[in-house]
């Protein structure tokens, strides 16, 4: 017969094994914050099964791995969870839209630096127009993925900060949310990860705190006129202090 203790220990075990669904795992984590016995059960199972990991014979470590880690230590600190569902990117080369470790490392500078950089690009690049607003779109890993500068009511300039590899037949689509009633509006498509100016539809002037995001869509753009693909990065508009 199944007891409460069995239920708790089985759940704790499945949680450690990674066998709970996302929703079940979140619910169990909520329970963990207030159920000391459940916390103890998780700790016990982790420690017991962890013996298997502790005994694993070391694999060779490639010499460049530490350099790649060290290059990113100054990267963005943990901003906490991003709003909404930003997909994890660049996990594994198989999944990866992000391929170039060098650029990931070199460009994952802190948020403030990036804003300065974005502003600087505008100053040295083509002179005016100055951006009215600057948005740093953060990836799921809280790293800067793209800068968007709102140059006017319709025109934006985008500068990717990650070497997004766009699969055949796909494009990155930039969206903004002028207000919840209007819903997300497409500002245009990027078929390669390169600086580009986009002219979107006529919209009210962009406001500070306005949401911008990029999603992966078919090469011709979202078939529905709304984001359908995974969110690659998102961020809120800020006023540059030029």
């Amino acid at each position: 017969m199944s007891t409460d203790r069995d239920e708790r220990d089985a759940l704790a075990g499945l949680y450690v094994l990674g066998q709970l669904t996302e929703a079940e795992a979140r619910a169990f984590e909520a329970r963990l914050s207030e159920d000391q016995a459940a916390r103890a059960a998780v700790r016990t199972i982790r420690e017991r099964l962890g013996e298997i990991d502790d005994a694993a014979p070391a694999e060779p470590v490639p010499p460049a791995l530490w350099e790649r880690i060290e290059a990113r230590l100054g990267a963005a600190p943990d901003f906490g969870p991003l709003p909404g569902n930003v997909v994890q990117m660049g996990k594994g080369k198989a999944a990866g839209l992000l391929r170039n470790d060098f650029w990931r490392g070199a460009l994952a500078a802190c948020l403030a630096t990036v804003i300065t950089l974005g502003t600087l690009f505008s100053l040295i690049d083509r002179g005016p127009p100055q951006p009215r607003l600057v948005v740093v779109l953060l990836t799921a890993e809280a790293e800067p993925g793209m800068i968007v500068e709102a140059l006017g009511d319709r025109e934006v300039r985008v500068v990717p900060l990650e070497a997004f590899v766009i699969p055949e037949g796909k494009a990155i689509e930039l969206w903004t949310l002028p207000d919840p009633a209007t819903g997300p509006v497409s500002l245009g498509l990027l078929r390669e990860a390169a600086e580009k100016r986009l002219v979107g539809p006529r919209l009210p002037p962009p406001q500070p705190e306005q949401l911008y995001e990029i999603t992966l869509e078919p090469a011709t753009g979202s078939p529905t006129g709304r984001p359908t693909g995974p969110v690659l990065a998102k961020g809120y508009a800020r006023v540059p202090q030029i």
Partner: protein, 177 residues
Amino acid sequence: MIDHAAAIEGCARGDRQSLKRLYEAEAGRLIAVALRIVRRRDIAEEVVQEAFLQIWRKAGSYDPELGSARGWITTIVRNRALNVIRDGAREDLVDAHEIAELGERTSGVEDAVAQLSTNSKLKRCLDELDRAKRLCVLFSYVGGYSHGEIAGALGVPIGTAKAWVRRGLLALRDCMG
């Protein structure tokens, strides 16, 4: 053996040398742990790379009451590896899981147990489980298999695989005392 808890404390203070000490002591073992789950060396290395960045950023949130420092680090690697195989990377990796014959997969996870010391209580308790339940627990923990993949590997319905995993966990608990 380094003092893991002290090294994590160092990371929380922003001391890079502490992270490097952890890395030098653990990177090879952690690649092995990730490799058992993701089965591709390049991906395992990337998992470990991202895990060390996470350790660096989250060191301040490590709570010794929730387990050992070494276990905390391993859990970060395990979770990242599981995330990789549970999301987009799945297509490529599922193939790797599927093309391996059951015999090969079985020996892979049994090898992990063989590494345990001969007087390990965990080893004795795993050996005492019947083979199906032992494989269920090991496929899950060592290989990161989902219930569905375990069912596929053992040629049983998914409900059976779920029940075996659960019973295996509880039998293991009872044996470990």
